[in-house]
Every structure is written in structure tokens, then in C-alpha cells.
């Protein structure tokens, strides 16, 4: 498969999953802001922080604005300057998909293009003012439709593998960040307030689309330890760190079965090391260990992503010009 196309496939996966994830986070945080007895700052600040956009946000609106739900939502939904806003992700997903249309099925392309046309059109902005949750729900439904079409209408070979690798690596990062974000909230909140704590853990599970799955595993018993282990190491839950790292490892071994390039070997080794580390180090972590642990995961994943892109250029000379679709 052509290296540039592999790279772009990888990024289509990442952008789609990122758009879905951002929409889901906004939805969950809105619900939290209505229900739980948290200050506006405690609700919205973590959302900006885990997206990695706090410096940019405070430069544009001032650090205090991070407690203003409307500003944060507008920034995370519509801002073209914010590279991880839904708008940026949807636009990049569509632009990148357009550049590799020939390897996507018509259904995938059309679903992606329709999402783009709808989101950029008047209908979505009007809806945002009237029924915001519906906009987020629609973004999620559309991105999930795209990802479902990837698995049900594309050939299960190299282009889909690269696309799905992008989805999985994006997801590891997202789950780690969401977990970290709730950890921040909890440390800010009244630790003795049992109802609030439970509300936060439940919202965390919802933010990871893992509420029902968690309940089935734990029969309704919600505790910090149980939620954290579930999201980190439940191998049957498709958004847990371990599920994603393990699947990503499988995909990488399928893409590069034999003697691959240095980049590919490096990527596979790093991924295997991270996978082993998660199994070994993350069994029932103490509250103070959670943040460093998740930081380690996020850092390692970004190194894996770099190695993957290096691996994509193959055993030949590297590309003469940087044609990577990466925008952030």
C-alpha cells in the first residue's frame, strides 16, 4: 500500500474518533454541570486541560474564562483555531478522507462528507442554539456510523488496518485523558461527599461509553478502584487502555509481519512494552499514582504514533517532502 495513503488512512481514523470523543466529553460535562454540585470552574476547566489546549485557551480568552461553560463549549465545538475542536476534527477527517477516497468505500466517504456538510451548514449552528445535546449526539452518531462502515464495507486489509490503528491509538490517549480529567475533578471536590463521588464516577463511565458494560461486570457496585481498573485493564471493554493497546499491537503485527523497517520495529516494540507495563503497573493504583501513570501512558502512545509514521514510510528512503496529514 502506498505510504502516503497509509499515513492518511491512519489520520482519518484518528480524526473521526477524536471528533466522537470530543462530542461525548462535551455531552457528559454538560450533564455533570447540571446535576452535580461542582462549581462551573471545576466542571469545565478539566475539559480544556486534558485536551492539551489550556495554554491556547487562556491566551485567547484569559485563564478565568475556563470557568465559563459557554466559552469552553464554543471553543471545543466550533473554533477553527482550536485544532482539537469538533469542527477541526470533522473538517480534517473529511479533507483527509477526500485525499484517499479511492481506498474508502463510497458509503464511508458519503457518511463523512454528509457529516461535514451538515456540521458546517446552518442547520447545525441553529440546532446548537436550540438543542445542543442533539448536535453532540448527532456528531457521535455520524462518526460511529463512519467507523462502523469502515469495518463493514472496506476490504479488511492494509488500508483498513492503518485506519483502525489510528482509531485505537487515538482511543488509548482519549481514555487516559478522560480518566485523568475526572481524577482532577475528584481531587478538587469534597472527598467526603459520597454522593458527589459516585456521580463523578458514573459520569466518567458515561464519558467512556462504559456505563452498562461496567455495571454488568460489577453488578452495580461503584467504587473508585473498580472504575479505575475497569477503564485501565478490562480486556473485554473496547475503550479500556489494555483492550486498545492489545488490539493495536495485533493490528501492527498484521501490518508488519516480517522484517519491517526500523520505524515499524520500534513502533511494535514500544507498543508491546506499554502493553506489558499496563498489565504490571496498574493493578489497583493508589489515588496519588493515577496522574503520573496516565501521563506515562499518554507520552508512550505519542511516541508509538511517531514510530508508526516512521514505519509507514517503509524500508525505502523517507518521503522527500512531508506529506503527512498530521495537523496536531
Amino acid at each position: 500500500m502506498i505510504s502516503r495513503v497509509a499515513d492518511h488512512s491512519f489520520w482519518v481514523g484518528r480524526y473521526l474518533d477524536r471528533a466522537e470523543s470530543t462530542a461525548r466529553l462535551l455531552q457528559v460535562t454538560r450533564s455533570l454541570a447540571f446535576d452535580a454540585e461542582l462549581t462551573s470552574l471545576e466542571c469545565w476547566r478539566p475539559l480544556v486541560t486534558v485536551s492539551g489546549q489550556f495554554p491556547d485557551f487562556s491566551e485567547r480568552f484569559g485563564a478565568d474564562a475556563v470557568g465559563d461553560g459557554e466559552t469552553v463549549q464554543r471553543y471545543m465545538t466550533w473554533s477553527p483555531e482550536n485544532p482539537v475542536s469538533i469542527r477541526s476534527s470533522v473538517r480534517s477527517a473529511r479533507e483527509t478522507a477526500r485525499s484517499i477516497r479511492e481506498v474508502l468505500s463510497r458509503d464511508i466517504w458519503q457518511a463523512t462528507n454528509e457529516l461535514f456538510l451538515w456540521f458546517m451548514g446552518e442547520e447545525a449552528s441553529a440546532r446548537y442554539m436550540q438543542d445542543r445535546d442533539d448536535v453532540f449526539r448527532q456528531v457521535r452518531a455520524s462518526t460511529q456510523l463512519c467507523l462502523g462502515l469502515v469495518r463493514s464495507t472496506m476490504l479488511h486489509d492494509a488500508p483498513m488496518d492503518f485506519l483502525w490503528l489510528g482509531v485505537l491509538l487515538e482511543r488509548v490517549g482519549q481514555t487516559a485523558r478522560i480518566l485523568d480529567m475526572h481524577h482532577h475533578m475528584l481531587s478538587g471536590a469534597d472527598a467526603h461527599h459520597q454522593i458527589l463521588q459516585t456521580a463523578l464516577w458514573l459520569s466518567l463511565l458515561r464519558a467512556c461509553s462504559g456505563f452498562e458494560a461496567f455495571m454488568r461486570r460489577n453488578h452495580g457496585r461503584v467504587s473508585r478502584g473498580a472504575v479505575v481498573s475497569f477503564l485501565i485493564s478490562e480486556v473485554a471493554f473496547p475503550r479500556s487502555l489494555l483492550y486498545c493497546t492489545r488490539s493495536a499491537l495485533g493490528v501492527m503485527r498484521r501490518i508488519w509481519p516480517g522484517a519491517a523497517s526500523d520505524g515499524a520495529l520500534d513502533a511494535i516494540e514500544r507498543m508491546a512494552a506499554l502493553d506489558a507495563w499496563i498489565v504490571k503497573e496498574t493493578n489497583e493504583p493508589a489515588p496519588d499514582d493515577i496522574h503520573p501513570l496516565l501521563t506515562h501512558v499518554v507520552d508512550q502512545v505519542s511516541l508509538v504514533c511517531q514510530a508508526v509514521q516512521h514505519g509507514i514510510t517503509g524500508p525505502t528512503a523517507p518521503l522527500e517532502v512531508n506529506t503527512s496529514a498530521q495537523q496536531q
Binding site: 502506498i2 502516503r4 495513503v5 454528509e114 501490518i255 514510510t313 517503509g314 525505502t316 518521503l319 506529506t323
Partner: protein, 507 residues
């Protein structure tokens, strides 16, 4: 009853039932052709022509409201599928949906047989002419075409003389623009022998019309167009320097910001070939490779949708970074086929056009089947004098421009524009030709803001594929329509749209 089902964005499926029992007032009522102009659907009295009867009945049975619904659903479908082109004058990113008018343009079976013969004849002669230009130049020595016309053509590449391309074919894909005069005769307006575009719209338009007018299409027996990608893939494989069965053809695009990117992607996708950009390719030891995740893979045939000048910086523009370094070396060594061959521009030059009937007689010893348009070549002294004196009646064109650019429409021009062209022609007569303005034929065309049909001018671009075993012509081709009232310019970059072209099946 026709049922139309299309999806609206993020909504439920909209189902539209179109009532086929005659309803008054119908769409064709009140449709009047322009006096002195041939109309493709109706005769001077407004009666449908025999071969267009099914299409005309279809319109008769629709009211303006019903048609408007069909039209807007079709436009929505095209937008959702991303059937777009980019505009040259825009820097990047401005994509537009190719405007489409759902009223089809119909060609009779008998006329098509004759047209197809004429196109095959023309392509055979042009191919022989190119072989000759890059070979012995017999046609020059024997005075059929002036030597300076070739030497001064910007598209002529002297370095390629003596080189026979892999597979022996030079014009694998041609688009020949035809227009119809008021007497009803189809005439060749120009040849496109480099990278003719538009075929994807032919296929997409058909998909849309089929959905909307399924009933009528079944009845009228329209010839299918969907075998084009298979035929094209076969054409590409047929010129491979290595075993065609295992050959690797690719489609080379300048990238997503090119105006015809949709088509490049469309063709690659419908043939199941890789779509590559120049940076994906490299040359090693006169062999072309594509960079893949499994390492380099050899490429045998390149259907390139880039201009000659951007093929290979080593050969064409040492200062340029665009293109694939060494590609022309590989081509010269016969290790890769380039589709179409570089250097074809000398044959579709608008000045060469004037000599094509003579070239047909010279190379084939046959009389040309297709008529042309009277052409004044400003490189000829007498012609130049005539053009300068009659600027107000003629259409002046730069020989090497396309897309409706670099033109003077004499009858619609201002004195200042004519003065400007007078200066330009005198400064560089070789660059200009002129033709009388032909009253292009019209076709009933949906005018959205008036909610009715009005005559608009059309042309026709058939697509012709050539391979060593013979020539294949796509039934019909792209009908382009000048959507602006009174306009003669059909180019999509200048307010043109397209129509589905129905070639009546032989019974």
C-alpha cells in the same frame, strides 16, 4: 408512477412520488426554441423530434413543482457524494458541485453510428500524425502542414523525436468537442488529446438520472455508459511494457486541490487502481517505483492527469520541484507507459486543428466523415488580415489555452476588448486563430428561479479510448450546457453545467 428516494442530510429518507398521469400545465408547454437555432429536443414548430419522444413525454408528464423537487434532490445527492470540481481562479479549497440539469440530451441511434465512425477516423489520423511529427515528418516535407506551425507550437517537444512509446499508442484517451450548427450538422470544435476531463460527470449524471427517471430510461432504451472504467483499465493494461495480466497501472494526480481531483479519485476507485501523487513515485535505474508500506513496488503504466511540464523536472523544468525525477528517462527506455503520451499537445493545438481534414486525407486516403468549423489561422498572412478586419464577427481563441480562457467573443465584445485583441494578435499571430461564431444548438434546460424550461446552448464531448487492438468510443459523452442566458461558453469554470446524454439503442 415514479418513486424517487434520496436521503436528506441527517434526516429521514424523503420519498417523492411523481405522478405520471398528464397534469396541466406541463413542463414542455410554452417551451420555444430560439429562432435560427437548432434545438436538440423539439423541431421549429415545437414538436418533439422522433428520437427524443420518450424524453419529451417524460417532461410533458411533469409539472414545474414536481420537476423542481427532482432537481433539488438530485443536486443534494451530488453534494453529499462530493461530486465537485475546484475552480482554477481560487487558491485552494473552493469546491463546487458541478451544476447538473436533469433534462437529458438525446442522440438518435443513426446519428451516433455516423458520429462514432467519424471519431474513430479522426483519432486514427491524429495518432498517425503524432507518430509522424515525432518521426519522419513526412506530412511536413510534403507540405500538408507548415513546418513552423509545429516548431513554434509550445506543446511540441523536439527532444522526443525518434522515440516510440511503450505499446505504440499516443492518444489513449481523447475527448473531442462537437457542436451542432443551425442546419443540424454536428461539427468538431476542438480536439483534447492531452488529459481530457469530464468523464466522471457522465457516469455520475447517469447514476442520478437513473434514480430519478428510471421509468423513462427503461422505455427509451438508452445505451449504457458504465463500462467506461473497465474499458479504461483494459486500455491502460494493453500498453504495459510487461505482462498486461500482472501489470501495475496507477493514476497520477496533482492532488486534492486540482480542479479535476474528484475525477482522478473517481477513476482510480472505479478501476480499483492506486491513486498516486508525484512524491509517491521514484525512479531507480530507469524503472519507476511507488513507495509502499511493504517497500518499493514497480509501476508499469501511469495514467497521468498532470501536464507535460510537471512530469519530470529533470527533463522539463530544472528549476521545478514538482514531478518525478527521471520519469522521462524511464519512459524513453520503454520501461513505463505514460498515458497519454507526452507531446500530444502539438496535435490538439487550435492552429493544427485547421489542418486536420487534410491530415485525414493524407494519412488515410479517406474523406473526413465529421465536419469542422471554418478556421482562420493568424499565422497565415491573409487569414490574419481578415481576422483583424472582422474582429466583431469572429470568435478569437489563443491556440494553447483551454477552459474558455483567452477568448474574444467578437459579437458580444466591447470596442476596448477588440482593440486589446488586435494588439495581441499582431504581436504574436501564431498564438491565435479565429472562427465564425456558430449558433450552437440548444436543449431545454431547467431554470431554477423561473421554475420552467428554457433553451440553453450545449456542446458534446465524446470520449474515445485507443489501444493496440483498436478504438472504443463511449456512447454519448459529456453534454455541457451554458447555463447563463445568451451565453455560448459551456466550461464548468465559467458557469457551465452538464446534462446526461442519452444515445438511443439500436433496435
Amino acid at each position: 408512477m415514479i418513486v424517487v428516494t434520496l436521503r436528506s442530510p441527517h434526516g429521514v429518507r424523503e420519498t417523492l412520488a411523481v405522478n405520471c398521469i398528464p397534469v396541466i400545465p406541463s413542463l414542455l408547454d410554452g417551451y420555444k426554441p430560439i429562432p435560427g437555432t437548432y434545438d436538440e429536443m423539439v423541431d421549429v414548430e415545437g414538436k418533439p423530434r422522433a428520437h427524443a419522444r420518450t424524453a419529451a413525454d417524460l417532461l410533458r408528464n411533469l409539472t414545474g413543482d414536481e420537476f423542481a423537487r427532482c432537481q433539488s434532490l438530485a443536486e443534494l445527492a451530488l453534494a453529499q457524494q462530493g461530486v465537485t470540481f475546484s475552480v482554477y481562479s481560487d487558491q485552494r479549497g473552493s469546491e463546487k458541485v458541478m451544476p447538473v440539469c436533469l433534462v437529458p440530451r438525446v442522440i438518435s441511434a443513426a446519428e451516433w453510428v455516423q458520429t462514432e465512425k467519424g471519431l474513430v477516423q479522426r483519432l486514427r489520423a491524429l495518432q498517425m500524425f503524432l507518430d509522424d511529427v515525432y518521426g519522419e515528418q513526412r506530412s511536413v516535407r510534403e507540405g500538408i502542414i507548415p513546418a513552423n506551425l509545429i516548431e513554434q507550437s509550445r506543446q511540441y517537444i523536439p527532444k522526443l523525436r525518434g522515440l516510440r512509446p511503450a505499446g505504440g499508442i499516443r492518444i489513449h484517451i481523447a475527448g473531442v468537442d462537437l457542436i451542432r450548427d443551425p442546419a443540424g450538422t454536428l461539427r468538431v470544435l476542438e480536439d483534447n488529446l492531452r488529459t481530457p476531463s469530464g468523464v466522471s460527470y457522465v457516469l455520475e449524471n447517469r447514476t442520478v438520472t437513473k434514480r430519478v427517471f428510471q421509468h423513462a430510461m427503461n422505455q427509451s432504451g438508452v445505451r449504457r455508459v458504465d463500462e467506461y472504467p473497465t474499458q479504461l483499465a483494459e486500455t491502460l493494461r494493453s500498453v504495459s511494457p510487461r505482462d498486461p495480466e500482472t501489470a501495475t497501472p496507477v493514476v497520477l494526480t496533482p492532488g486534492p486541490f486540482n480542479s479535476a481531483y474528484f475525477e482522478h479519485s473517481f477513476l482510480a476507485r472505479s478501476m480499483g487502481l492506486e491513486l498516486v501523487e508525484a512524491t509517491d513515485l521514484f525512479v531507480d535505474g530507469n524503472v519507476v517505483f511507488v513507495r509502499t508500506t511493504e517497500g518499493p513496488r514497480r509501476v508499469d503504466v501511469i495514467y497521468r492527469r498532470t501536464d507535460d511540464a510537471y512530469l519530470d523536472p529533470e527533463f522539463f523544468r530544472p528549476d521545478s520541484l514538482l514531478g518525478v525525477r527521471g520519469l522521462m528517462r524511464a519512459y524513453a527506455a520503454g520501461q513505463v507507459a505514460l498515458v497519454n503520451a507526452p507531446g500530444n499537445g502539438v496535435a490538439d493545438d487550435k492552429a493544427t486543428y485547421a489542418y486536420v481534414p487534410d491530415l485525414i486525407r493524407f494519412f488515410l486516403s479517406e474523406e473526413p466523415i465529421l465536419q469542422q468549423v471554418r478556421t482562420y489561422v493568424c499565422a497565415r498572412k491573409d487569414d490574419c488580415q481578415y481576422v483583424i478586419e472582422h474582429l466583431g464577427e469572429l470568435v478569437v481563441k489563443a491556440v494553447d489555452e483551454a477552459g474558455g480562457y483567452g477568448m474574444l467573443m467578437g459579437p458580444q465584445s466591447t470596442a476596448a476588448e477588440r482593440e486589446e485583441f488586435r494588439g495581441r494578435i499582431l504581436a504574436d499571430p501564431r498564438r491565435y486563430i479565429a472562427q465564425p461564431r456558430i449558433e450552437l444548438s440548444t436543449s431545454p434546460t431547467w431554470i431554477a428561479d423561473k421554475r420552467c424550461l428554457e433553451p440553453r446552448r450545449v456542446d458534446l464531448r465524446p470520449f474515445i479510448l485507443s489501444r493496440p487492438s483498436g478504438i472504443w468510443v463511449l456512447p454519448g459523452g459529456l453534454t455541457r450546457v451554458a447555463l447563463r442566458e445568451g451565453s455560448y461558453v459551456v466550461n464548468s469554470s465559467q458557469g457551465g453545467g452538464s446534462k446526461d446524454t442519452w444515445v438511443e439503442a439500436t433496435r
